[in-house]
Symmetry: C2
Subunit: 240 residues, 2 copies
């Protein structure tokens, strides 16, 4: 936790905040070993960042005097269409996506997504939000990515992706004889990027994504785990 992310409801007036989230209090006590008088980097969910001084730290409550005067870092102008990863990977990928600054994430079905993955409790809105907040607290950001869950591939791709892709560079990462993934784009270039499941998209899915404007690109001979591929692709696209 490199930033203590407060909810707007934690703010008491313009310069005071009260932390009551058990996870955050546990972290302050056990990891930060914080004490009264300590300064912490703070932010408000979907708002500004700044610094706060601990004026009271108890087991179930902490009070801070806060100054909020800095904008959060820019988001990446990316809509990421990601085949739903297995539950354990999902949690880490949500953190990765939030910490890298993705604007919008669509968790999508694919032939190679096991049906059981859709039953995981980690897809519940609170569980998703928890991982996203961890990612923001890691990266020092305050703005949550939008997350959308799409358990049906074909209607989503046919009916919704065309509007998403409009005015963006549409890319689908897929091994094969395709152009290399572009690199060194600037933050004005909006991207729609599709990343498949472990085992990859099936050819039908690549064709469908291509039909709605996503161009297949490859990343080289190495096949990366989803989480590694997400970080590597985003870092490459915006390496400029």
């Amino acid at each position: 936790m490199n930033l203590l992310l407060l909810m707007p409801s934690d703010l008491l007036g313009a310069d005071r905040a009260l932390v009551r989230d058990p996870r955050q209090l546990k972290h302050l006590h056990e990891v930060h070993r914080a004490a009264q008088g300590d300064w912490l980097r703070i932010g408000v969910s979907n708002g500004l960042m700044g610094r706060g001084q601990l004026v009271r730290l108890e087991a179930e409550e902490a009070e801070l005097v806060v100054t909020l005067d800095q904008p959060p870092p820019p988001k990446l102008p990316v809509t990421l269409l990601l085949a739903l990863p297995r539950p354990k990977m999902l949690r880490r990928v949500l953190q990765t996506v939030a910490s890298m600054g993705v604007s919008r994430l669509v968790l999508l079905n694919s032939q190679r997504v096991e049906k059981s993955f859709w039953q995981t409790p980690f897809l519940a809105p609170e569980a998703v939000q928890e991982q996203l907040l961890l990612g923001l607290e890691q990266a020092c950001d305050t703005r949550l990515p939008e997350v959308q869950i799409e358990p049906r591939f074909k209607p989503f791709v046919e009916d919704r992706v065309p509007a998403l892709v409009q005015d963006t560079l549409g890319l689908v990462a897929h091994p094969g004889n395709y152009p290399s993934c572009p690199w060194g784009l600037d933050l004005n270039q909006k991207i729609t990027l599709a990343i498949g499941p472990e085992g990859g998209w099936i050819p039908y899915e690549v064709t469908k994504l291509q039909e709605v404007g996503l161009q297949p690109v490859q990343l080289g001979a190495r096949i990366l785990r989803v989480e590694t591929a997400v970080a590597a692709l985003l870092a490459r696209l915006f390496s400029g």
Copy 2:
């Protein structure tokens, strides 16, 4: 497992192999649900890659007819000096490092590495090798990175790093008012790259690394987890 990585001792003559590794057999049976006659992508540790056909698959043994005719993908010409991550992260980072193609990894001490991390059984040579093999089997590579364990920061940096850095571009990733990390290098550019622990290098460590030829570079405002930073930095450096 996108590639079944055989040990040279698994080969019986030029075109036969016998798999007896319980982990690999379990994977063939339970994940691949392989059957006699199936073709698999295979490779030999530190050797060639190719294809193999399963001619016999039993609980404790599998026999393949193999053709080994392809070189493994090029390694990244990178020596990565990595502050020892916490044990759980260490295992994943070893996989990431192997799957991204790093040539050499040095696990190094730092002020912010907890002493207990050095006691983990995951640092035993067999445990390290297991994670590296998983990374190679993920990425379809056969060449293990060299791994070196250095529990003393100062003597290693003073006595050994100068020779490592020679004829390479030396970089230390560190947040702050530093030049941006370079990008788009080609595979002829050798790199020595130092990545700190969660919490970062302390200023003394940055100074010491700078004194032996590693130039501090930053990656932007976002602070990434070690595993994500490794993937993002390598993808950025060799994005060309």
